[in-house]
């Protein structure tokens, strides 16, 4: 009912009806007032005319005193409309004649009181009086004038003259206003009838107008309702040129625009849906009631729950494991409570039966007013990234570890080099002293022997350090691993406890490997001794196995020791040393190759470091398998070589008797003690000696004593001009010059730099007299 009252049709109907009623009442009232006023004015005017006529008519009657004539005249006047009474008075105001009381007069009670018997006040003109107590009574008084000429002459002038007015009597007329009342009453009655007709017409007109105005609107509303249901093809069909048609045209235009925008919106929605579904992140939206409003395919697929299930669930966390549910609820609550973006990392079991780690961002969803209406959640699967990060971190640690080991290698190499120089001096001097006191003091010889023995042990340590740094003595040639193992068997036997059984599984027909025999021996020895030490004094078995295998890159990549360069897949010859010892913990394994790390009371921690350095130097690889209490297996791989064994026997050393050292040897070394001991040993051998503290000085001396100098013992590392530069200059001066290089670094490393340049020989520091003599003999013998 209220809706009906407030409807546009009702409003138009009521407004038009009310307006028409009001206008009818106003115009009716105005009409009645105007008519009443007009009738009253007409009555008054009629009364005035009647009074003037009567005044004119009674002049002669008054002048001649014709009372009968006046009475007849007055009675005749009563026949005039509305005239109730008329009377005539003489100039002194005395009543001369009156009309008879009319029937109408008798109806007006009280009017008779108004009838004058005498005119009290002289009048000069017409006087009209309305009796308010008797609204239907109008009185008219008028003097009766007779004009006379003041002078006789003036009556002879045409239009001019001194006329004087003389009042010869008065008239008195009473008119009834009943006709006005009657007419007013009639007008009101007519007005009421007219009003009802107009009212009915107004009702009809209002109904018709309301219907005419609202019908197109209702039609438009029906079209709008269809549009609301998504049917944008609806159009309003109105004809004509009125405002409604214009509105319909505008609305149709709006519908067309709306349809276009709707299509565009759908397109955008489809695009957005596609983007959301194909996005590699999970996206969802929650309402304030925590119900899922939207979820993209990526997330539902990841967690293995359909989107519809999420959308239908009262709370989406019901579909998640309890732990995940609590975590999600907590972050949801935090986001709703703070009305701000919340970051979290959530572990969510996924459809691949793995728990994935998701970086989750939950942000408030706001309306245009900025009020929070829900939240948007975005989950990014960070599992791979975190794994990659962990791997990267691990790799970084490995790199750092490797760099640290390399630094240690450099350090160890440098120390070993310097130690070799010192040991060269010690061993040389000791050898010289031993030779001098030989036969003189047995006790002195013993001491010197111990010095030499200690120096040799120190030299061995230096070799280990050089091996670790990859700069040890290094003479590569084809070696058969099984043969090598067999060759060191005797040495191994004395190096291990008697309670330990050595077992060999050596493969026949093994391909050769390119290796330094000494270093390969060192590897075998170190591994076997370590295996023995792992078993300790208990009984156990150390198994040495050799063989051939194909190693692919994957296998090679997971080895613990690798060369600096990437190893190629292919045939490898392996050495495997297994023990039944105590095994190694993970911590021990992590530090296995670190220099100076040892689990032995007397160990120096260089064995495995040297093994690692040697394997790297040989472009090999190694794997370690160890379990505490179960034992350890080391597997070393060397690339298989196609080179055959060199069966050429080393040239038989020339006997000392057949070689007579002579001439001068130039010693070029920046170390004073090296130059000194070398000079002593050379002089002892039988050479004259010249010394130079660096390469530049060496060249100068050689230029000066070129004819005498038969060989030059040249150090590598020197100030001003190093060994290499000095060698090239010497070769330029004399291409046939005999130069023997002397270095604490390995021969291979050094000689590679002088490959093909005519180097006469190489002597590894620390060297003793014999080794020096051998080198010189080989160099100087044609």
């Amino acid at each position: 009912m209220k809706q009906l009252f407030y409807s546009l049709r009702s409003r138009i109907f009521l407004s038009v009806t009310t307006l028409v009623i009001l206008l009818s009442l106003i115009f009716g009232w105005i009409s009645i007032v105007q008519q009443t006023s007009s009738l009253e004015l007409e009555l008054i005017e009629r009364g005035k005319i009647t009074a003037r006529h009567l005044s004119y008519g009674v002049e002669i009657g008054i002048l001649t005193g014709d009372e009968n004539g006046l009475h007849a005249l007055l009675n005749k006047l009563l026949k005039e409309k509305d005239v109730l009474y008329a009377g005539v008075f003489d100039a002194k105001g005395k009543n001369i004649s009156t009309s008879e009381a009319s029937k109408l007069l008798k109806k007006h009670a009280g009017v008779t009181n108004l009838l004058m018997t005498k005119v009290e006040q002289p009048l000069s003109d017409l006087w009209v009086k309305k009796i308010w107590n008797h609204r239907d009574i109008y009185e008219f008084h008028m003097p009766v004038i007779n004009e006379i000429h003041g002078s006789g002459e003036s009556m002879l002038f045409d239009g001019e003259g001194d006329l004087q007015q003389q009042v010869i009597g008065y008239i008195h007329i009473i008119l009834s206003g009943a006709s006005i009342q009657h007419a007013t009453h009639q007008t009101i009655m007519n007005g009421i009838r007219t009003f009802f007709i107009v009212f009915l017409l107004a009702l009809f007109a209002a109904w018709w107008l309301a219907r005419a105005l609202t019908r197109p609107l209702a039609y438009m509303v029906s079209v709008i309702e269809k549009t609301q249901n998504g049917d944008f093809n609806q159009r309003i069909q109105l004809h004509g040129q009125n405002e409604m048609t214009q509105l319909a045209m505008a609305f149709n235009h709006m519908l067309e625009e709306l349809a276009k925008r709707n299509e565009k919106l759908h397109e955008q929605q489809r695009t957005m849906q596609l983007i959301l579904d194909t996005a590699p992140v999970g996206i969802w939206m929650l309402g304030l009631d925590r119900r899922m409003i939207f979820m993209n395919k990526a997330f539902s697929t990841a967690v293995g729950v359909s989107e519809q299930a999420f959308l239908n669930a009262k709370h989406y966390t019901e579909l998640l494991p309890k732990v995940v549910s609590l975590q999600a609820t907590q972050s949801d609550n935090q986001c709703f409570a703070m009305n701000a973006m919340v970051h979290s990392q959530e572990h969510i079991p996924c459809s691949d039966n793995k728990v994935h780690i998701f970086d989750v961002v939950k942000a408030p969803l706001r309306n245009n007013q900025g009020d929070m209406i829900g939240l948007v959640g975005i989950a990014i699967d960070a599992t791979s990234r975190l794994q990659a990060d962990a791997e990267k971190e691990q790799m970084q640690k490995q790199v750092e570890h490797t760099q640290r080991l390399e630094s240690l290698g450099v350090l160890a190499g440098g120390i070993a080099h310097d130690f070799n120089n010192i040991l060269t001096s010690i061993m040389g001097n000791a050898a010289m002293a031993e030779r001098k006191i030989k036969g003189v003091s047995t006790e002195g010889e013993a001491y010197l022997s111990k010095i030499v023995l200690s120096s040799e042990k120190a030299a061995l340590l230096c070799n280990q350090m050089l091996a670790y740094s990859g700069k040890g003595h290094f003479i590569v040639k084809p070696v058969n691993l099984s043969s090598m193992i067999e060759s060191v068997t005797s040495l191994l036997g004395v190096s291990i406890h008697s309670t330990i059984e050595l077992k060999y599984h050596l493969a026949d027909q093994l391909p050769n490997i390119e290796a330094d025999e000494a270093q390969l021996q060192q590897v075998i020895m170190n591994l076997v001794i370590n295996a023995s030490d792992a078993i300790g004094e208990d009984s156990g078995v150390v198994t040495i196995t050799s063989g051939r295998m194909y190693a692919d890159t994957a296998y090679l990549a997971q080895t613990v020791v690798q060369s600096d360069v990437a190893l190629d897949a292919g045939d490898y010859v392996f050495l495997e040393v297994s023990d039944t010892g105590c095994g190694m913990s993970q911590e021990v394994q992590q530090h296995l190759f670190e220099p100076f790390f040892t689990t032995k009371f007397t160990g120096r921690g260089l064995g495995m470091s040297a093994v690692q350095g040697i394997i790297r130097g040989h472009q090999g690889a190694m794997n370690v398998y160890s379990e505490l209490g179960q034992g350890t297996t080391f597997k070393v791989l060397f690339p298989a070589s196609h080179q055959t064994l060199d069966h050429h026997a080393e040239p038989t050393p020339l006997s000392k008797n057949t070689w007579q050292p002579s001439g001068t040897v130039l010693v070029v070394d920046d170390e004073d003690m090296i130059r000194e001991v070398s000079s002593l040993m050379l002089e002892d051998i039988g050479f004259d000696v010249l010394e130079a503290a660096d390469g530049q000085e060496g060249i100068e001396i050689y230029q000066q004593y070129q004819d005498k100098i038969v060989a030059i013992l040249l150090d590598m590392t020197m100030p001003r001009l190093d060994g290499e530069g000095c060698f090239r200059e010497l070769k330029r001066i004399n291409p046939d010059v005999k130069v023997i290089l002397s270095s604490g670094y390995n021969k291979q490393d050094v000689t590679n730099r002088f490959d093909g340049s005519g180097l006469a020989g190489f002597v590894q520091k620390p060297y003793n007299l014999n080794e020096l003599e051998k080198s010189l003999r080989l160099a100087c013998t044609p």
Binding site: E59, M155, E160
Partner: protein, 293 residues
Amino acid sequence: MLAPIESQADGIAVISHANIKPYQLAIAGFREQVNLPLHVYDLDNGGEQHGAIALDIRQQQPQLIFALGKSALNFTRHMHFHVPVVFIFVLHPNNGSSGHQNQPSEFGIAMSVAPAQQFKMLINIAPNVKVIGVVYDPKKSAFIIQQAKVAAKKLDIHLVAISAGNQKMAAALIASVMPKVDAMWMIPDVTVLTSTTLKQMLRLSLKYAVALIGLAPKYVRAGCLFALSFDSRAIGSQAGAMAKKILVGKKVANQVPPNRVHFTLNKQAAKQLGLYLPPSLLKKVDHLYGESK
């Protein structure tokens, strides 16, 4: 006999008592005849001015006084200017003044047309008229009634002249006499002729088919059959001519009728009376009323 006018006398004093159109026309007509300067005095400005006017006139020493209306004539009689006076627009020169008679030095032109002239015109217009009625106040109009009776007798017309002492009586007598006469003669008698009696006569003339002889064109316009009246400009011019004669010492009559008469006729009234108006008569009419347009 009048003494010749002194050479040092200066112009003519014109005295009127109202600045009305007939007076202005009359003065204009007078000026046409007289080449002397006119000093115009208006007595209507108030009685207190009369002495000053008289003093000024005396100082001016006019050769002649031209008086318009009875008040102006009485003023000259009271002031004794001792110069000839020519007057016009005075109905009864010998009445109304305090014992003055028409002085030897007073010369005037009568205001009304002679009864005989009026009766002759009536017969011209309505030849069947035999009885003419008139009501008059013997105190004011005895002389003219006497002239009328003489004229009527000559024209073989019966004049019924009834005297009335006051207005009331006049009205009653008019009512009683008019049914008995063929024509009713209006005379310039203020006792008899008022607006009421005029209306009465007009009404009765229609009722009893009585021809009314009016006094001036305004009565003809109201319904009288005809009127013979003076012309203001002509009467002024006639007075000027008279003054010229007086000033050169010629003898003139003390009062002469106007030598130019204005003839006004109401054609509608004539039609009501059943009168035929021949073209020769209509040619004489100065102004014709009641012509259907």
